[in-house]
């Protein structure tokens, strides 16, 4: 009569498993490894870190949620998918039936985000972005606070949650958005651009495609000091800084400007410089390859420079590398908000 070593039940002879508890009765002669796996010193140290604990802690509600949905919680895709829930503030709160808090967080985040887009490039816009991120952090904090009363674990979860969001959401966002919509504040009045205007510049516009005639672009002229006359006196004039104007002709095109009429390849040009009030001296030229013709229309070159004509020719030919991006939107002030064409 074999006796079960687990529950001491007397089983019938010939049985291989205990009739009461199901334990194997052939263990005494079975070939089983009885030496347990051991953790390395490194693994033990790693598991004591806040990151491991926090990852496990954040992962846990997700795994529980997966179990509720009757899916395999050990499948990492379910965990990763569910971890994405933290990306939207208020979503975890909705899942946890905290509808008021979830609504407040999501509503506040969306409102701040929308206003930040409207005020983008201004101080108020920056403050609104900071508020939106704070609301997101509060959402992460609430998830961590609800999950445990253990302060160190809670703090580590908050740190990890915010760290992951910062690393994988906000850091890429703050790198990409200023690249494709960099705010550009106007410092000097040159009609139609006035002090206080905030323009959005797409710096990636010409990575894959060349500039088109008619585009309004941000470009730089190579720094130069030229002798000239200012307010009736001889002066050294610095010509540098970023400028904004329209591309009037592309590589290989012949340009003729008589001070009033612009002709490209013998035909009247379809585009005009931004500011016709200050036009350069008459000039005639052919745009070299890899260069664009942008008339420095904002400059009072005829008044400033004795040899303005030749200098205007030099300043008008812009290498493609000096074109930094395309201006596509005026974001501020609201009264003149709109696309730049």
């Amino acid at each position: 009569m074999p006796q079960c070593s687990s529950c001491q039940f007397q089983n019938m002879p010939g049985t291989t498993h205990c009739g009461r508890c199901g334990a194997s009765l052939l263990l005494a002669t079975a070939r089983i490894n009885v030496h347990p796996p051991r953790a390395t010193k490194w693994a033990k140290t790693w598991r004591k870190t806040m990151i491991w604990r926090a990852w496990y802690a954040i992962n846990q509600p997700i795994v529980d949620f997966a179990r509720q949905l009757d899916v395999d919680p050990d499948n990492r895709w379910h965990s990763i998918f569910a971890a994405l829930r933290l990306i939207i503030p208020g979503w975890p709160q909705f899942v946890a039936s905290k509808f008021k808090l979830g609504g407040f967080l999501l509503g506040g985040y969306l409102a701040c985000g929308l206003l930040a887009v409207i005020f983008y490039g201004t101080t108020i816009g920056s403050l609104l972005i900071a508020t939106a991120i704070t609301i997101h952090s509060i959402a992460v904090y609430d998830v961590a606070r609800s999950s445990t009363k253990d302060y160190p674990v809670r703090n580590s979860r908050i740190l990890l949650g915010c760290g992951l969001l910062g690393t994988f959401l906000y850091l890429p966002l703050f790198n990409l958005v200023p690249y494709y919509a960099a705010p550009f504040s106007i410092q000097i009045d040159r009609d139609p651009l006035l002090v206080g205007d905030v323009l959005l510049v797409n710096r990636g516009a010409y990575v894959w495609a060349p500039p088109q005639v008619g585009d309004i672009v941000v470009y730089v002229i190579a720094p130069a000091q030229v002798g000239g006359v200012a307010q009736g006196r001889n002066a050294v004039i610095n010509i540098t800084l970023q400028r904004i104007d329209r591309v009037l002709a592309g590589p290989g095109q012949s340009v003729m400007w008589d001070g009033k009429t612009l002709t490209i390849d013998g035909q009247p040009a379809t585009h005009r410089p931004l500011n016709l009030a200050f036009s350069a001296l008459p000039l005639t030229l052919i745009v070299p390859p890899q260069h664009y013709f942008i008339l420095p229309s904002g400059e009072r070159l005829p008044e400033l420079l004795p040899n303005g004509e030749s200098l205007a020719s030099t300043l008008s030919i812009i290498p493609i590398d000096n074109i930094q991006g395309r201006v596509f939107w005026r974001n501020s002030p609201w009264s003149r908000m709109g696309s730049m064409r």
């Binding site: 529950c7 508890c21 199901g22 334990a23 005494a28 009885v34 604990r53 160190p152």
Partner: protein, 256 residues
């Protein structure tokens, strides 16, 4: 017939399936030694001895359970969970093994799974102090006051001094040395001649910032066991160290 009984005939070979009484005593020795080492706080040695006992007889549930418990004590909860899973394949309805797995899950951080397993352990046949201890640990984690009842129940089931000591260890692990102190004092009352109880009491007192009391406890531990390396090390730390970041960290965040 007695004069033929000593003849060696072919069909009368000794039965190999019966366990050898000598090896049985050896394995019992290993198990006893393992328990002895565990009661001294030498968990690494205890784990090795439990494995040795199982090499002889794999049907010793105590051996499997001991291994799981030692792995948990040695902060190897992931391995403990894996090992308890393997042990449960051999002994599917063993309540203590279920409790062991629940404790391993709790230490890893999966309290939902731990609760399910603990429920299973409580429903399993029989009862043990260990199941109630694990239950109590889980009750603390989910923020229920019933942990006091669970631990009291564990101490009623088993009056051994090791039970309050392990309860104190649980409180310590959960960063609650003030509750641990009461339990470890009870363990010391039950077994004032056990140096390991004095050592743990010193640790708990240190966590509470009662440095003089901790020094006394460790000195008492050293009186009972002259070469207790851990007690010597802790004493020298307290005597040498004045201000230290580690101590401030422990004061704020507990001993983890």
């Amino acid at each position: 017939m007695a004069r033929f009984s000593k003849l060696e005939l072919g069909g009368d070979s000794p039965d190999n399936s019966k366990p050898d009484p000598t090896s049985r005593s050896e394995q019992k020795g290993s198990l006893e030694q393992a328990i002895e080492q565990r009661r001294c706080g030498h968990y690494e040695n205890a784990l090795r001895l439990y494995s040795r006992a199982l090499e002889e007889d794999k049907s010793l549930v105590t051996g499997w359970l001991g291994q799981v418990q030692m792995l948990i004590m040695l902060d190897e909860s992931v391995e403990a969970e894996l090992w308890s899973r393997k042990a449960l394949e051999l002994f599917p309805a063993n309540g203590d093994l279920l409790a062991g797995r629940a404790q391993a899950y709790r230490r890893i951080g999966d309290k939902g799974q731990a609760l399910l397993l603990s429920d299973g352990a409580m429903k399993a046949a029989g009862q043990s102090a260990y199941r109630w201890m694990v239950r109590g640990e889980l009750m603390i984690v989910i923020g229920q006051d019933t942990h006091l009842h669970c631990f009291d129940k564990a101490m009623q089931i088993d009056t051994d001094w090791l039970v309050p000591l392990e309860i104190a260890r649980i409180y310590q692990e959960l960063g609650n040395p003030s509750r641990a102190l009461g339990r470890i004092c009870r363990a010391v009352e039950l077994a004032p001649d056990q140096y390991y109880a004095w050592f743990v009491r010193g640790e708990v007192e240190r966590d509470l910032g009662l440095e003089k009391a901790a020094i006394k406890s460790w000195q008492h531990c050293l009186e009972l066991c002259h070469h207790h390396a851990d007690a010597e090390r802790e004493l020298s730390r307290l005597e040498v160290g004045g201000w230290s970041l580690t101590r401030i960290w422990r004061r704020w965040f507990g001993n983890r």
